[in-house]
Amino acid sequence: MIEVKHLKKQFGGLTVLRDVNLTVNKGDVVVLVGPSGCGKSTFLRCLNRLEEPTSGEVLFMGQPVNDKDIDKVRAKMGMVFQHFNLFPHLTVKKNITLAPVKLGLMKQEEADARALELLGRIGLADKADTYPNMLSGGQKQRIAIVRALAMNPEALLFDEPTSALDPEMVGEVLELMKELAQSGMTMVCVTHEMGFAREVANRIIFIDEGEVKVDKPPKEFFENPENERLRSFLSKVL
């Protein structure tokens, strides 16, 4: 579903990603891990072109991701941010319905009904008419996920979705992500939650020195790390 070929990304003189190759299949739950500053988030942001790759190619459902059709690609590839990025001047419901309505995918009433249904599924239907600043971090992030889901995306990107949360809020967000994964959603997640990676991912990817160094199912990834750098990384985080 997502194909990355020889992706390279430089910031000025600094090469963050040297040569990344990766194929994400439909239904895959891919977790990216690696030392901080290794380019995991940059890689994720290259997938929906929030960062423009210096060279290389990203294909989404067979189509190259370039500037021309970028809005269409993004409508099908949702993203969840570390800092939620809910729109503070809009109600929760309006946050969710803005994009589907503006893009002409749904009428306002349809979108409202869909928003309420999705909110009901995460137990926040009563928050539909409140503003984001009245919500807890966990609620905000779950609503941000629902906002992405309202577009009926083919794939979802998660950029450290739990890193800005209070510890007691992390569980509820991971729980929702787990449900999504089990429902067959294609997901690419950058996260430090090793428990989540082990339990939910079907592939874990270790990025180091600007390349994919390890790409294994969780069991092998954690129990039998061959890569020296991965061993040292795991010994620090586990």
Binding site: D71, G78, F81, H83, L103
Partner: protein
Amino acid sequence: MQAFFSDFASKFYAAFLFKDRWLQYIEGVGTTLLVTAASLAMGIALGALVAMIRVGHAQQRPGHHNPLLGLINAVCKVYVTVIRGTPMMVQLLIMSMVIFKSSRNFTMVGALTLGINSGAYVSEIIRGGLMAVDPGQMEAGRSLGLNYITTMMEIVVPQAIKSVLPALGNEFIILLKDTSLITVIGGKELLYAAQGIMNRTYEAMFPLLGTAAIYLVLVMLFSALLGKFERRLRQSDRG
């Protein structure tokens, strides 16, 4: 002592009451407010346009600069630099004596100049407001598939307006007082009326103090209104 008071009273009478001269002040205030409103409207329109162009230009991806936008942006930068770098008095004189030297409508020329002048300052205020919105908001909008313009209009601008309003209120008050400058090119506003009366009575204190008092009252009135407005805005922030 008595002579002092009778002198005082007769000067006051000459400055404000004789031949219903107070009407001239009122008329002047009317023009002052009109010029303020016109130049503020123009300043905001011009300022918003310039700010959008400059922010749009600044937010292009590296290596993808639109040459046309670059040119317009350069024009905008020259405009802001020239207007902010020269005294308003000089701008007024240039406009009335060089560019519109055949125009007799001094008040209009004055309002136009103030509008152009204010636009440069307002553009910087609005630009600051737009830049201050968390870049994550633009990213969130774009990541949902909304294009740049829609994201700007639906997500960034509404948030910027809130943070920009207090500074715009301030600009309004500055503009209200600066309208007095158009007197020098013959704009018929409040200070012009006061000067006309000074020239007829050979007495400066009462017309000038009266004018100052009127400006002060106007500014206090509008400051109070703006304060009220801001408090209301902040209330909606909490809920």
